[in-house]
Symmetry: C2
Subunit: 436 residues, 2 copies
């Protein structure tokens, strides 16, 4: 039996041993999705904390069902390790490591390169490999493929198959999860596509094949570039509306009555999370190689970068109305997650605003029911305080940076002296409330 | 009985006499919508051709039902005139005149100002006035209101009421028309809003009130700015994809499988029509007064402006493949409307491309079943030719600028020597077809 028949037969029998490198927001939900279907899954990670959490059945990802998780671990379907030699046994290896930007906002592909080196050192012939980390088009063909071939001595299309299949995780989404979100898959060969469909199809309801990895890479970046550009547009319009005595939220709600050709986006203090502030700049980077300037992404990025600073000016203006300065004022931030109802503060604009307000002498506290502590970009750490009447009354200014559903708007309004509402938590006009 | 009670009673009895200034793409469908409900409507226009067409029951707007139109004229519900003294008899006056950009892409509000002067000279006390022409926020309050008050001697809120209610006409849309598209309405006073709702409610199913005319003005510009920005984004990405051997249409179709947070836009040779290439620049203009630079609109406008030129480069490259130059080549353009299945070539990118190709010495012909003749921006006129085997075979290059549904892609592909497809008419790869 040849490699292809072997792996397709294993897929048909649900006997594919799946290795997932990187067990964070993307990798762990995917691991659980495979494990729930009865497949054996091993997660690889360098974090010993994550490994021990998985192996002891403690779930650390918000969107994963706790019962499904502990059941997967108890039944030995799911385990985790930092021993990459276990890759030798895997039939399918899926890479779910971070693709961050460095401090100069350039792509850092070192995590995927290192993962590929571990794979090349260990993989057996007949392995299917898929990259899920968001990255610029051509990465799979021009970075991943050479590392795998050169460092393993194996040949693509004969000894292994390579594909790109972008993750589409939307943290906090109650409707769409790993299983029921259609999955884009682009492989280097028709055989690789066939194998990839048979394996992903075990855990995911719908697979949408495309003609190449570079098309699949572009799909994910288009999705998130669309969001970056539209959020930046509405943020810029919100700043103008603030000057023109126009309530931008009223405008958006009215525009959303148009039954065709419009999708509403809402303004806020800036863009956060691990996708939208990063992915489009992967594309902007590779475009340079083709002598191409992506002016829309560049402009959107500029708006995004300045938003936290513009928000500190709003806070300054609000305090100025009651003849106070930022310097010396007690300022309470409500919500530091990058969007409502999640526990993730990565790239959150709240942290950047807190940084700047602290640097200007503001006495900062924060409350977020989902995030017990934060470290701001300049290194200062804060712990979440209890939200009660005393802290609200004691604060010179309360800033709503993220509007978690659990926040009681009336309670906050009644007990606060001055509110800067960056999320339209307070729909009614009030002399106390200063809106974005 | 006071003015308000009087007009509300007339509305309740469907006895409001409606005057509509400007009977083009917006005004005439609105006039017919009122007339169909049994109201008497008079259309005002300076074009004697339009007036005689209306009065003789000849419909000239694509989206209006011919039978409904001739019935409205026959029953004397609808007529047209260039005698603005007829405004004296109107209870409600609705302004639907153009708001173009001048040659330096600055707003030209002279049509609405002139309409307001005619109204001020003629209106009786107790008139409801609504502006539908797209314009920047503050126009109704800061341009229209002073003209009406100063030149009529009447006082707003006592003698007349003023509102802004943006048209949302989408030419060629088979599902949504004037009647069933929700209508935004912002008036200067609560009384004006009440009267406006009662009048518009006679012809339109759903009225969405907002708090002020400036909010209503902003709504329409947001809707079309959203479209400008997203079309420009996808056009820019399409140009990059062309260099990276990625089919942008395959990418968009795949991204559209994402069941949340994405709305697909499709690339093309540029933006046309009387809304999307214009409206956002009204906002960009007024923003300057507030010391505000709308960088997203500016960037999108730049992409839009260069698209026709980029398309001539594509045509040049395609001809170069077969060792021909634009100069001296016979080039046939298919579709010159600004979008499929309509008869409108205003601001159409096809005209700009034809202009440039002609200037470079190309021998241009065009075929469009809906547009018998065109005048290009530089003044050259063309008449549509018949589409047959001979013209296809005789042409060195066929350029698809607009993909009307009636075009037979197989027939065109079989009989053409070389095709530049700017609209993804040809889904399959072919050596003959050069795509955007």
């Amino acid at each position: 039996m040849n490699y292809k028949e072997d792996i397709l037969q294993k897929a048909a029998q649900k006997k594919v041993y799946v290795g997932i490198i990187g067990i964070g927001y993307v990798g762990l939900p995917l691991a659980v999705a495979f494990a729930r279907e009865g497949l054996r899954v091993v997660g690889f990670d360098n974090s010993s904390e994550r490994i021990s959490q998985v192996n002891s059945g403690r779930n650390y990802i918000f969107d994963i069902d706790d019962d499904a998780f502990s059941e997967a671990v108890k039944s030995k379907s799911l385990c985790a390790t930092n021993n990459f030699e276990e890759l030798k046994k895997c039939d399918a290896i899926i890479i779910c490591v971070p693709t961050p930007l460095d401090r100069f906002k350039k792509p850092d592909t070192s995590y995927i390169e290192n993962a590929c080196r571990e794979i090349a050192r260990n993989m057996k012939p007949g392995t299917f490999i898929s990259l899920e980390s968001t990255t610029y088009p051509t990465t799979t063909e021009e970075i991943i493929l050479p590392i795998l071939e050169n460092e393993s001595g194996l040949k693509h299309g004969e000894d292994f198959w390579l594909a790109f299949s972008p993750e589409r995780v939307d943290p906090g989404n109650k409707l769409y999860n790993t299983k029921n979100t259609p999955k884009i898959l682009g492989a280097l060969t028709a055989e690789g596509l066939e194998i990839g469909k048979s394996i992903y199809g075990l855990a995911i309801e719908s697979i949408h094949p495309v003609s190449s990895p570079r098309v699949a890479e572009m799909v994910k970046i288009l999705e998130n570039t669309y969001r970056l550009v539209n959020i930046s547009l509405i943020n810029e319009l919100a700043l103008l509306c603030g000057k023109m005595d126009i309530d931008i939220w009223e405008v958006i709600d009215a525009a959303a009555t148009k039954p065709f050709g419009f999708q509403p986006f809402f303004p806020g203090p800036g863009i956060g999370g691990h996708c939208i502030p990063l992915d489009p700049f992967y594309l902007e980077h590779i475009a340079k190689k083709y002598n191409f300037d992506l002016s829309m992404i560049h402009t959107a990025g500029h708006i995004d970068m300045m938003m936290p600073h513009r928000m500190t000016i709003k806070i300054n203006s609000a305090l100025n109305r009651i003849k106070k300065s930022v310097n010396g004022s007690k300022i309470l931030f409500l919500g530091v997650a990058y969007k409502p109802n999640i526990d993730d503060a990565r790239e959150s604009p709240a942290l950047k605003i807190i940084d700047e307000i602290t640097a200007k002498g503001g006495k900062v506290t924060y409350h977020d029911p989902f995030i017990p502590e934060i470290t701001c970009p300049n290194g200062i750490k804060f712990c979440s305080v209890e939200l009660d009447e005393k802290i609200l009354i004691d604060s010179d200014c309360v800033v709503v940076t993220t509007n978690h559903d659990v926040f009681d708007a009336n309670y906050i309004l009644e007990n606060s002296n001055l509110i800067v509402d960056l999320r339209n938590m307070f729909k009614e006009k009030s002399a106390k409330v200063y809106k974005l």
